[in-house]
Symmetry: C2
Subunit: 442 residues, 2 copies
């Protein structure tokens, strides 16, 4: 019998009631509140005054031990139950639940929780992640697999190739109704864009999901995001690459974003991810998928099983993203040209402008076959380089405007296009995976 | 008698009624609508079907000439009237209106309108800008001056020095209740930050104001922004550097932002500027200033005439802003070090992370005395580098987290600190002008 990472007051209370981390418990408080949920492990440095349980809603809550009037165990640890579920699933391959592959790549969603020791670890395996969210067993039969275990700031284009290949392999089995990729949030939008280009013609949804707060913390968003991602993956009519994260700071809705149109816009909030210049595709609320795209948008989103997967998972990193700022030294761009860079994505000001003192180096880039593309550091809106002299001069030089494509998506797309296509300029201006909402303005 | 740039149907209608651009006119339409306003010039390539008038609200509206039932002149051209006002002002220096200096630097707000020819020009002088918004004469006695005429994407740190010196000169006269700087919107937030550091201890408000749509277009935001900036400059209790732009897409409120906490977040909308991680200081509505800052924030904002101006207007451009992206080549950062860069502002992912393959070059930067600072490309929120291994490793290397400072503001601040202070590292971590809302986390 272990009370997990609990120490001090919290541990005493749990020990007294023979309760282990992972058990389902009922707590009555002095002020008459009744709560039921799964006992969660505590982060090692946390205050020992609180007992943390995951409620049926998926929300974690911390209860001050001094408020506890009574506490009792309702069921065994989730880990044990999940193990049993897993065994029964392997016996019942013909069960009627939809089938999902859960590919774990690392990040907060898969960190700092360990049901065996109650302690904190850097990585949680996909099967543990699955086991820690028992609600999933009611939605889908999940095949978990750990592909890698990286904080997402450490992912490079080579990792996108590994992920794309693994997903293509899972798709090829024909067994799955959807694929979930658990991922660190820091670069999840870059990966989502990468998979959108690498895996065109997907017959099923691939949903990236992360967490802003690790599973062991009260108010973790891990479980709800994972449940919603799975709900969408099994029941949405669409195929393609999506990102599932909290839609707001409360816990009532998870937004499903198009993989090429989403951005991490807050360092810490649970609703850090936002669709840019468009609405999310869907909200998942109360276990149901509510589609948000208007009718005229339907044709832009691929329907399930309407296409055949063409995996082109290579990326060429010889691409630079350069954010313009007043006082920027043209030497920086000369350096990129001489270091072998093949394409430069500029984040210009406003409608797509940079200082005229960069015109010389941009002309040299074009002469040397280094293509320069323009996006806007405004984030929202679209570049339009015909309105002012500066924009027209840049067009004359050969700089190509990318309409409303996000600079992050443009960078990833250029890396993909360099590796897989012959005409970078042309491909960059064609909409492939929702990355261009408005036609390219010339 | 000139009908300005009007051609075709529009010109015919105006010619018939002996009306010139700049005249105040009354129009009745076939469907019973009555409108009064100043006849505006048309952009030369625009459809000749519409007559554009500026309503009393400051809003421009286009009226289809086929809708016009009757049209009559109410008053002479604004240009003539403004000239008369200007003469009368020079005679009445003891008038009771507050006194404002209007410094014009260029941009959309000062472009594409010319009352003398009715045509379109690249630059409108400050006095013409003033004359084109006759409402200003009721709010303040305005001294207009053209300092420069640049699209803001062409401004470099040297221009900030020129502006700071000019403002300091105006402040030194002791004559003005406030100073308005009309500016292109593309880099207005960079300039606002620059002036915030260069002009500490301002006794009066300095308000930067721009327009997303030029004065000659229907739905131009120029007049309303200028009126609100002037209203704030003459009546707000505060001193410091601010930005005045539309608060939303309608025309009922102009937001006043702190100069170091504002960002252009949309390429084209009138409410493109947003305060980040804080509310605007005030809204200007119906000609009145509505302060928004909570009481606990009051002490952070300097009161009018509470301080004495210390102008330190120099900037050192040997600073680079680098946005991190997956696949970034460390060579790019080596290049910055060898080209003489003295400080690097990184826009990291999430809480302030970059790939571990940059640790080597960041260590080398620190060894060579090139200080590296961390902000977040999320834009909202704050970096916190103690939560994950990556952040702690970066702190060990010597990378300095900048809390919730905007990357654009951080870049400008480093340029200012390099030129004016001895201890860059220390100054960057101290709040000088509202650029740090939360204490720097270590």
């Amino acid at each position: 019998m272990s009370s997990g990472s609990y120490r001090g007051k919290g541990a005493d209370t749990l020990y007294k009631h023979s309760i282990s981390v992972g058990d389902t418990i009922a707590i009555s408080t002095n002020d008459g509140e009744e709560m039921q949920g799964v006992l969660m492990p505590r982060y090692e440095s946390a205050s020992d005054r609180y007992i943390v349980i995951k409620l049926k809603s998926g929300y974690n809550t911390g209860i001050d031990v001094t408020r506890v009037k009574s506490i009792r165990k309702i069921a065994d640890t989730v880990a044990h139950k999940a193990a049993k579920v897993s065994q029964s699933q392997s016996r019942q391959t013909d069960n009627t639940l939809p089938k999902i592959a859960l590919i774990s790549t690392g990040g907060t969603i898969a960190s700092k929780i360990d049901y065996r020791t109650g302690g904190v670890r850097a990585a949680l395996s996909a099967s543990e992640l699955y086991a820690s969210v028992p609600e999933l067993t009611a939605i889908a039969s999940v095949d978990p697999e750990v592909l890698m275990s990286e904080y997402s700031e450490n992912l490079v284009p080579g990792h996108w190739t590994i992920m794309a290949n693994k997903i293509a392999e899972k798709v090829a089995t024909g067994k799955y109704d959807g694929i979930i990729v658990s991922h660190g949030t820091d670069t999840m939008h870059y990966t989502a864009a990468a998979l959108s280009f690498a895996l065109q013609g997907l017959p099923i949804p691939v949903v990236l999901v992360g967490a802003q707060r690790s599973s062991d913390r009260p108010s973790s968003d891990a479980a709800l995001n994972l449940i919603a991602a799975t709900t969408f993956a099994v029941s949405a009519p669409l195929a393609g690459v999506f990102v599932a994260m909290h839609a707001n700071t409360s816990d009532d809705a998870i937004a499903i974003h198009i993989g090429t149109r989403v951005r991490k816009n807050h360092t810490s909030r649970r609703n850090a991810f936002e669709s840019i210049d468009t609405e999310p595709v869907a909200l998942v609320k109360d276990g149901k998928v509510e589609m948000l795209q208007k009718e005229e948008d339907d044709k832009k989103l691929a329907q399930r099983h309407s296409e055949k997967l063409k995996a082109r998972p290579s990326f060429d990193s010889r691409v630079a993203l350069v954010k313009y700022f007043p006082g920027i030294d043209p030497t920086m761009v000369y350096g990129l040209i001489s270091s072998g860079c093949r394409a430069i994505i500029f984040e210009g000001t406003g409608l797509g402008h940079v200082n005229k003192n960069l015109f010389g180096v941009l002309r040299e880039a074009e002469e040397k076959g280094v293509h320069v593309f323009m996006t806007s550091q405004c984030i929202w809106g679209r570049v339009s380089m015909t309105v002012y002299d500066t924009g027209r001069d840049l067009l004359d030089i050969g700089v190509i405007p990318l309409s409303d494509m996000l600079s992050e998506t443009a960078t990833v797309k250029a890396m993909w296009a360099l590796a897989n296509t012959q005409d970078l300029k042309k491909i960059m201006q064609q909409n492939i995976a929702g990355e261009i909402l408005s036609a390219i303005p010339i």
